[in-house]
């Protein structure tokens, strides 16, 4: 019996280990570039094991960190407020949608999921947000549009559908109001679903560049990802320009290659650190049920 299993087990694990390496490899590459010295990079190219351990990229990035610290602040503020509010808003609609005895259940499902299949498009949304809601260059534009994401509503509703109706019923017989049931019973029971969706929402906010690319021009409101994007362009511009400079200028080497990667690490790090807290609930919380339940 056992000998029959070893072959396939070995094969499956080998496949998964290979893919695991593919998942981690790019991160390692970026980390080691960020610790390489600029001279080594220009001479030998990026390498997976730094030829010398050099902190100048981080020193350069963090030397006058005003911009970066500010970008961090914006990203953290948006992610924290966004995640907390969004979680409440999404749970608030997911719960009634999970209730068979709610009169508007089907109408509400249609209302939410229709937006997954049809939308007004970029231009009308842009016009609405900038010309009519006047949200351009405010912190709100980075938070409000993502608060009620239909996909997350679908996940959480599917999870809540698995909560036995008898629990809710017995609370109703005890005379508890719907609000009480929601906050005291449903939310604690839906913890795995909430944790999973919270992680997705957090990632959505932390990793977003789209909203800032469209609506943010004010320096003080630039979040981390958008700053990273601008650095990408800026350094492309720098390297292009340096090709046309006299050769002597090239001695003045900024750690631009490694600094870029150091920034990427600083931007990606917090999310990787956050994951273990959600991991426990992960697979249990990720239920996707039928759209029309």
């Amino acid at each position: 019996m056992l000998s029959k299993k070893i072959g396939p087990q070995l094969f499956i694990n080998l496949l998964f280990i290979l893919f695991s390496i593919a998942c981690i490899f790019p991160l390692i590459a970026v980390i080691s570039v960020s610790f390489s010295s600029e001279e080594d990079i220009l001479k030998y190219g990026y390498s997976l094991i730094p030829k010398s351990f050099d902190l100048s990229a981080y020193a350069y990035v963090l030397y006058k960190p005003l911009q970066i610290v500010n970008a961090f602040k914006v990203s953290i503020l948006v992610s924290v407020i966004g995640t907390v509010v969004s979680l409440l808003v999404i749970a608030g609609i997911a719960y009634p949608m999970s209730r068979e005895d709610f009169k508007l259940k089907n109408k509400l499902s249609f209302y939410v999921f229709f937006t997954m299949l049809f939308n007004g498009g970029l231009v009308p949304t842009y016009m609405l947000i900038s010309n009519y809601l006047h949200l351009k260059n405010t912190i709100w534009v980075l938070i409000l549009p993502y608060l009620a994401f239909p996909w997350f509503i679908l996940i959480l509703r599917s999870f809540m559908q698995k909560i036995p109706h008898s629990i809710i019923e017995s609370c109703m017989i005890d005379g508890a109001s719907e609000f009480r049931i929601f906050f005291r019973i449903i939310l604690p029971l839906a913890k795995p679903g909430l944790a999973t969706v919270a992680l997705f929402i957090l990632l959505q906010y932390w990793n977003d560049w789209w909203l800032s690319m469209l609506y943010i021009e004010k320096e003080s409101l630039v979040p981390l990802q958008f700053m990273l994007y601008r650095m990408m362009n800026n350094i492309t511009y720098l390297t292009n320009a340096s090709n046309m400079m006299p050769p002597g200028m090239k001695d003045l080497v900024l750690p631009s290659e490694s600094a870029r990667m150091a920034m990427a690490i600083l931007a990606a790090g917090p999310m990787l650190a956050v994951f273990p807290f959600f991991q426990k609930y992960f697979v249990r919380g990720l239920t996707v049920g039928a759209v029309k339940g």
Binding site: C23, L117, N207, T287
Partner: protein, 308 residues
């Protein structure tokens, strides 16, 4: 007595419905503002927007914006890129993630399963901008791969060779989404009652038979939902993937330009609102029709798997 009870009951049910409605209210309002109000804005697609006259007083031009878009020389290229990338992404991505989910379920060590889940999820944690940096660290002028190739005597400039990009973009897209998708399917498999497998095992079914006769059929509704939802987005592309990864390199546009990046760049250069919203309306309507059609086909094949 009976009447009073009934009255009390309906009052309670009324109260219940109102309270549940109040809970849903914030989301309903937000969805209304950010999704439904823009839908009303699709009329922009039929107007020649003039900034001085404003949105509502600009002249109507019928389908001119659409005509203009479809007569531009780039349109078929952009359309071809969008559709072929999406078809490959959906087909390869779905098949691989189902395969991964099924195999993950076969791994005996619980600890390894946990480990794989965590690691497979890594790529999903990075924004497209960070993935662009990673890509650059591999294939940029000083990149790991580029300098390795140079050492073995091959000079290869990834950012000017067009033929490699369809392969690269597919690899990157699969790399980023595979963990996420396979965990959704894995969660689906976890939801299948263990009893089926036990019964099958008593009847002497092999692993392979169980996968074919139990896992896949019971996973089918989920597979259908996921596929139909991605088919609905077949005229859209992951903007970040096509915008950041190949960078602003015009030479690569023939293989990297998709509808979304095309419209964005066009909007940046010309500011033609009418035409851009015409394209947006086209994407949305086509996607919607494709979903309706696929759902119709699914319904014909198996009533239970339909999306709506």
């Amino acid at each position: 007595m009976n009447n009073r009870q009934k009255g009390l009951f309906s009052y309670q049910s009324y109260k219940k419905n109102v309270q549940l409605g109040i809970l849903a209210f914030p989301a309903v309002v937000l969805i209304f503002i950010f999704s439904y109000v823009p839908m009303a804005g699709i009329f922009i697609a039929f107007k020649d927007i003039n900034y001085e006259k404003g949105l509502f007083h600009s002249p109507w031009v019928g389908f001119d914006n659409f005509k203009f878009f479809f007569s531009s020389s780039d349109v078929w290229l952009v359309m071809r890129n969008t559709l072929s990338y999406n078809i490959v992404f959906i087909a390869v991505g779905t098949l691989l993630s189902i395969l991964f989910a099924v195999l993950l379920n076969e791994v005996l060590s619980r600890r390894l399963v946990k480990g794989y889940q965590t690691i497979f999820f890594f790529p999903y944690f990075f924004s497209w901008i960070i993935v662009a940096y990673m890509t650059y660290s591999f294939i940029g002028p000083y990149g790991v791969v580029t300098s390795f190739l140079e050492r073995v005597g091959i000079r290869f400039d990834f950012y000017t060779e067009t033929w490699i990009w369809p392969i690269l973009l597919t690899l990157i897209s699969i790399w980023k989404g595979l963990g996420y998708m396979s965990i959704i399917f894995y969660a689906g498999i976890m939801g299948i009652s263990q009893e089926y497998f036990e019964a099958a095992s008593i009847d002497g079914a092999t692993k392979f038979q169980m996968i074919r006769k139990i896992t896949i059929p019971l996973l089918m509704p989920l597979i259908t939902i996921m596929t139909l939802l991605s088919i609905g987005k077949i005229f859209y592309s992951d903007f970040g993937l096509f915008f950041f990864i190949p960078r602003e390199i015009g030479q690569l546009f023939p293989v990297t330009q998709v509808i979304d990046t095309y419209v964005y760049r066009m909007l940046k250069v010309s500011g033609d609102l009418g035409m851009s919203s015409a394209v947006g309306l086209f994407q949305s309507t086509m996607g919607f029709l494709v979903v309706l059609f696929s759902n119709y086909v699914v319904k014909k094949v198996d009533e239970d798997n339909k999306l709506f």
